[in-house]
C-alpha cells in the first residue's frame, strides 16, 4: 500500500473487485494521510458497535440489522468502488494498529480485533451474498438442463475435517462422524469465516514483525504517530499497565471491596473469603482485577491450591477483563465469575443488590435494564445509586468502576498505588 500526501487516485482494477474482500494482500492504492486515519476510525466505530451489540447479547437477527446499519453509516461512500477501497484501506491500517502485542497492546486486544473483524466478515458475507432462494432455483435449473434429477439444495452438505469448522463443532451445529464434520449448506459461512480468521491471525503476526523491524522506524514522522494515537484514542484507558495492589493488606482489600468493587468482583471476593477457593475462571477474573500475580493470589488469598493452572509466558501480558469480556464469559457449575447482571437469576441478583444497599425504585430500574440485556447500564445505575453521584461515561470496565468509585469517595488513592489513569 502506497501512502502519499496528495489527492487519492483510484486504481483501475478496484472497480472489478468483488464487494467483499478476504484482504489477502495489501492493496496497491494511494491513500491520503488524512484518509489513512479517518478511514481507520470509521472502521473502529463499526467494530466497536459490533462488540457492544454482542456483549449486550443481541440476537442474530438483531445483530445482522445492527451491522448493516453500522456499515452503511460509517463506511459507505458515494461510489461502490470508493467504499471498497475504504474497506480495504481501513482494514490494513487497523492491522498495523492491532498487530502489536508487546508494547502498548496486549494479546487480548489483538484477539478482540480478530474476533470483531471475523464477526464483521461473517455478517457481510450473509447480507452481501446473492439471494439464496434464487441460487437454489438456478441450481435446480442447471440440474434439469443437464438431465439430472432436481436436488433439494438444502440437502447439499460439505464434508471437512472437524478442525476446520471449530466454531460449528463448539455449538454442535454439524454432524460429526469419525473426525469429519458434515456441514449443511446454510452453515457454510462459518467455514469461510474460520478460514478468514486464521488467515488474518497469521497475517497479524507477519505484520507485527514487519512493523517492529522496519515500518515503525521508517514511518516515525508520518504513520507511526497516527498508528500509535489510534491504538490509545479509541478504546479507553489501557488497564494492562495498571499497578499492583502493592502492599495492601487483606483487611484493606475487604474494606475496598465493600466500598468500591463492582458487584462481579465483590461477589467473587466474598466467595473466596467464604470458601477459600475459586475455580479458574473466578481466579482469573478477580486476580487480574486485583493485579495480583497468580502465585501471590494462591498464597495470600486462597488457601487451597491447584498448581495445574500453569501458564507460561509473560504474566504481565494479562490485562484485567473488561465488562464485555466478563459479560460474554460462560460460567459453569461451581463457577462464580461472570457478570452478575447477566448470569445471576433474578432472585439472586435482587438479594445481592440488596446487600449492596440498592433498593426501591432503583432496584426496579436496574432489573428493567437487566431484562433488556443492558447489563453495563444496570451496573452503572447501581454505581450511581450507591455513590449518590452520576457516572456519565457509563461502566465499561471493573477497574474503571473502582477508580471512579475511589474518586467519588475521595479516599487517598495514592496509598494504594492503584490504577492512576
Amino acid at each position: 500500500m502506497e501512502i502519499v500526501r496528495s489527492q487519492r487516485k483510484t486504481s483501475d482494477s478496484a472497480a472489478a473487485a468483488p464487494t467483499i474482500s478476504l484482504y489477502r494482500s495489501a492493496p496497491n492504492i494511494e491513500v491520503r494521510l488524512d484518509d489513512f486515519e479517518l478511514f481507520a476510525i470509521d472502521r473502529l466505530r463499526v467494530l466497536k458497535g459490533i462488540s457492544d451489540g454482542l456483549s449486550r447479547g443481541k440476537k442474530p437477527e438483531e445483530m445482522e440489522k445492527l451491522v448493516s446499519e453500522l456499515w452503511r453509516t460509517n463506511m459507505r461512500l458515494q461510489e461502490q468502488s470508493e467504499t471498497m477501497e475504504k474497506d480495504v484501506i481501513s482494514h490494513f491500517v487497523l492491522r498495523l494498529v492491532y498487530c502489536r502485542t508487546f508494547f502498548v497492546f496486549s494479546e487480548d486486544q489483538r484477539k478482540w480485533f480478530l474476533s470483531m473483524e471475523t464477526a464483521l466478515f461473517r455478517y457481510r458475507f450473509r447480507f452481501e451474498s446473492p439471494d439464496s432462494q434464487n441460487v437454489k432455483d438456478k441450481l435446480n435449473q442447471v440440474a434439469r438442463s443437464i438431465g439430472q434429477p432436481v436436488v433439494n439444495a438444502d440437502a447439499i452438505f460439505f464434508k471437512v475435517p472437524f478442525e476446520e469448522v471449530a466454531e460449528l463443532v463448539s455449538n454442535r451445529r454439524v454432524f460429526l462422524f469419525k473426525g469429519y464434520a458434515y456441514v449443511a449448506m446454510n452453515q457454510v459461512v462459518s467455514l469461510v469465516a474460520t478460514q478468514f480468521r486464521s488467515l488474518l491471525s497469521k497475517a497479524l503476526v507477519l505484520t507485527n514483525r514487519k512493523w517492529t523491524s522496519t515500518i515503525r522506524e521508517q514511518e516515525k514522522d508520518r504513520l507511526t504517530p497516527i498508528v500509535e494515537a489510534l491504538s490509545t484514542s479509541y478504546l479507553g484507558p489501557d488497564y494492562s499497565q495498571a499497578k499492583e495492589f502493592g502492599e495492601v493488606s487483606l483487611k484493606d482489600i475487604e474494606q475496598l471491596a465493600n466500598s468500591s468493587f463492582p458487584l462481579c468482583m465483590r461477589h467473587l471476593f466474598e466467595k473466596l473469603r467464604e470458601e477459600h477457593h475459586l475455580k479458574h475462571g473466578g481466579r482469573m477474573q478477580l486476580g487480574l482485577f486485583l493485579k495480583v500475580g497468580s502465585e501471590r493470589f494462591d498464597k495470600e488469598y486462597a488457601y487451597s491450591i491447584r498448581h495445574n493452572y500453569g501458564k507460561e509466558g509473560k504474566r504481565t501480558d494479562y490485562t484485567p477483563y473488561s465488562c464485555q469480556k466478563i459479560i460474554s464469559s460462560t460460567p459453569g457449575v461451581g463457577d462464580h465469575h461472570g457478570c452478575p447482571y447477566r448470569h445471576f437469576s433474578e432472585e439472586n441478583l435482587r438479594a445481592a443488590l440488596g446487600k449492596m444497599g440498592v433498593g426501591g425504585r432503583t432496584m426496579d430500574d436496574v432489573m428493567d435494564k437487566v431484562r433488556n440485556r443492558h447489563y453495563q447500564l444496570a451496573c452503572t445505575l447501581t454505581f450511581e445509586s450507591i455513590h449518590a453521584s452520576s457516572c456519565d461515561a457509563g461502566i465499561n470496565h471493573p477497574n474503571q468502576y473502582f477508580t471512579d468509585s475511589q474518586k467519588v469517595l475521595k479516599t487517598k488513592v495514592t496509598i494504594f498505588k492503584l490504577l492512576d489513569i
Binding site: 478442525e163 460429526l176 462422524f177 473426525g179 488457601y303 491450591i305 495445574n308 507460561e312 457449575v333
Partner: protein, 390 residues
C-alpha cells in the same frame, strides 16, 4: 527459595497421610514406576529407533515435580529414559505433572527469551479431560467433596462411556487413555497425532461440543437443551447411556425423590410452575394418606414423567424437561479450562496420590463399570511386596 517465580507454598498441615509414606514412594519409584513405558509413550516414535524421527522431541516436553515440602519445580526436561528415571528416583516427587511439548527445550527457555524467531511456545499436547467428583456435589447425597463411594462412582463410569464413545465415533480418535486420578475423578489423554496438534481454539471447540451446562452456581437451571430435537451426539448419549443409568442406578442409589428437599430440587427444573406445584402437592399428601406401592423414588419418577408427557401439558418444552432432568443428574461435568489450553499440566499416570496413597492406574473404558476405586492398590500395599534394596 524461589523457583521460576513460583514461591513454594507452605502446607498448613504437614502431616503425611496414612496410605502415603516417602520411603515407600522411593521403593515404588525404584521398582515399580514404569519409567521406560512413559518415555516410550511420550516419544511417539521419536526414540531414535525409527528413521526420520525427531530426536529433540522428548527433550522438549515439560515435566513438573511437586516435592515433599510443596516445592514446585516447573519446566523440567529430560533427554532420555535414563535421565527421566534418574531424576524421578533422585527427587522422589510427590506428584509428577506432564505439560506440552514446546518449541524449544523448556529447561533452556530463558536462553531463547531474548527474541528472534525461535520463540518459546507450546507445539503439541495431548487433548486432555479432567472430570472431578467434587463437581457433582449437588447431585450426590452419599458423599461430598473429596470422598467417593460405590454409590457415586458410577457417575464417573457414565462420564467415561459418554466421552469415550464420542471421542472415537464423532471425533475419530483411537489412542485414548483413561486414568484414575487417585482420589475422586478421572483423567483422559487423547494421544492421536491429530489431537496433539489441535490449536487452543480447536481444543475449546471440542470441549464446548461436550458442554451442556449453562447455569452457574447462581442459577437453578443448570442444563439447557434447546431446539426441537437433540443433537445426534446428545440423543445417542441419552438413549444409550444416561437414561438407563438414571433409572436403573441413580434414582434408587441416590434416593433422588426420597425427601422433600431432594424432590424440590428436581421440581425446580420444571419451567411450568403449576405442573411442578401439582406434583409437589401430590407427593406431600402421600405422607399421610395412601402409601404408594413400590419404591417411592421409582413411583414418583414415573408420575413425573407421566405428568410431563400427558396431553394436558402440550409443547415440547415440558417433555424436553425430562431429558433436562436426566442430563442434569448424569451428564459428564468437565473442567473446561483443563481441556482448552495446550499448556495446562496434568498429573502423570501411575503417580501416587499424596492424600490417598492410591496409584493412578489406567481404566479400561470397555470395562469401566467393573472399576472399583476403593480397590485400587495403595502405596503401602504395593511397597509391602517387600522389594528390598533401593
Amino acid at each position: 527459595m524461589l523457583i521460576d517465580g513460583h514461591e513454594p507454598v507452605q502446607q498448613q498441615v504437614s502431616t503425611i497421610p496414612k496410605g502415603f509414606n516417602p520411603d515407600h514412594l522411593k521403593v515404588y519409584y525404584g521398582k515399580l514406576f514404569p519409567h521406560a513405558d512413559i518415555f516410550k509413550w511420550m516419544s511417539y516414535g521419536n526414540d531414535g529407533k525409527h528413521p526420520g524421527c525427531d530426536l529433540s522431541y522428548f527433550g522438549r516436553r515439560e515435566f513438573s515435580f511437586t516435592l515433599e515440602n510443596d516445592i514446585y519445580l516447573r519446566f523440567q526436561s529430560f533427554n532420555s529414559a535414563t535421565e527421566l528415571e534418574h531424576a524421578i528416583r533422585e527427587k522422589c516427587p510427590f506428584k509428577i505433572d506432564i505439560g506440552p511439548v514446546y518449541s524449544v527445550d523448556p529447561a533452556k527457555r530463558h536462553a531463547y527469551a531474548q527474541g528472534g524467531d525461535n520463540v518459546f511456545t507450546p507445539m503439541e499436547r495431548e487433548l486432555i479431560f479432567d472430570i472431578d467428583m467434587s463437581d457433582y456435589d449437588d447431585v450426590r447425597y452419599c458423599c461430598s467433596g473429596a470422598d467417593v463411594c460405590l454409590d457415586c462412582w458410577p457417575l464417573m463410569t457414565v462420564a467415561i462411556k459418554v466421552m469415550d464413545r464420542a471421542l472415537r465415533d464423532d471425533f475419530g480418535f483411537d489412542h485414548i487413555l483413561w486414568v484414575y486420578s487417585g482420589r475422586r475423578g478421572v483423567h483422559c489423554w487423547v494421544c492421536d497425532r491429530r489431537a496433539r496438534r489441535l490449536t487452543n481454539e480447536q481444543r475449546a471447540a471440542v470441549a464446548d461440543y461436550f458442554r451442556v451446562y449453562k447455569g452457574s452456581e447462581n442459577n437453578a437451571k443448570k442444563v439447557s437443551l434447546t431446539g426441537p430435537v437433540l443433537h445426534p451426539f446428545l440423543a445417542r448419549s441419552y438413549t444409550d447411556v444416561l437414561e438407563v443409568f438414571f433409572e436403573k442406578k441413580l434414582l434408587c442409589g441416590q434416593q433422588l425423590f426420597s425427601t422433600q428437599e431432594k424432590y424440590e430440587k428436581i421440581l425446580a427444573i420444571i419451567p411450568d410452575e403449576s405442573t411442578a406445584a401439582e406434583l409437589h402437592d401430590r407427593w406431600q399428601g402421600n405422607r399421610r394418606s395412601s402409601i404408594p406401592k413400590g419404591d417411592p423414588n421409582i413411583v414418583r419418577w414415573e408420575q413425573l414423567k407421566h405428568t410431563l408427557q400427558s396431553g394436558k401439558h402440550k409443547g415440547q418444552g415440558l417433555r424436553r424437561c425430562i431429558e433436562e432432568i436426566v442430563f442434569s443428574y448424569t451428564y459428564p461435568r468437565l473442567d473446561m479450562e483443563v481441556s482448552k489450553h495446550m499448556n495446562h499440566l496434568l498429573k502423570a499416570p501411575f503417580c501416587v496420590h499424596p492424600k490417598t496413597g492410591r496409584v493412578c492406574v489406567p481404566i479400561d473404558p470397555d470395562h469401566c463399570e467393573d472399576f472399583d476405586p476403593t480397590a485400587v492398590p495403595a502405596l503401602s500395599e504395593v511397597s509391602s511386596l517387600k522389594t528390598v534394596e533401593t
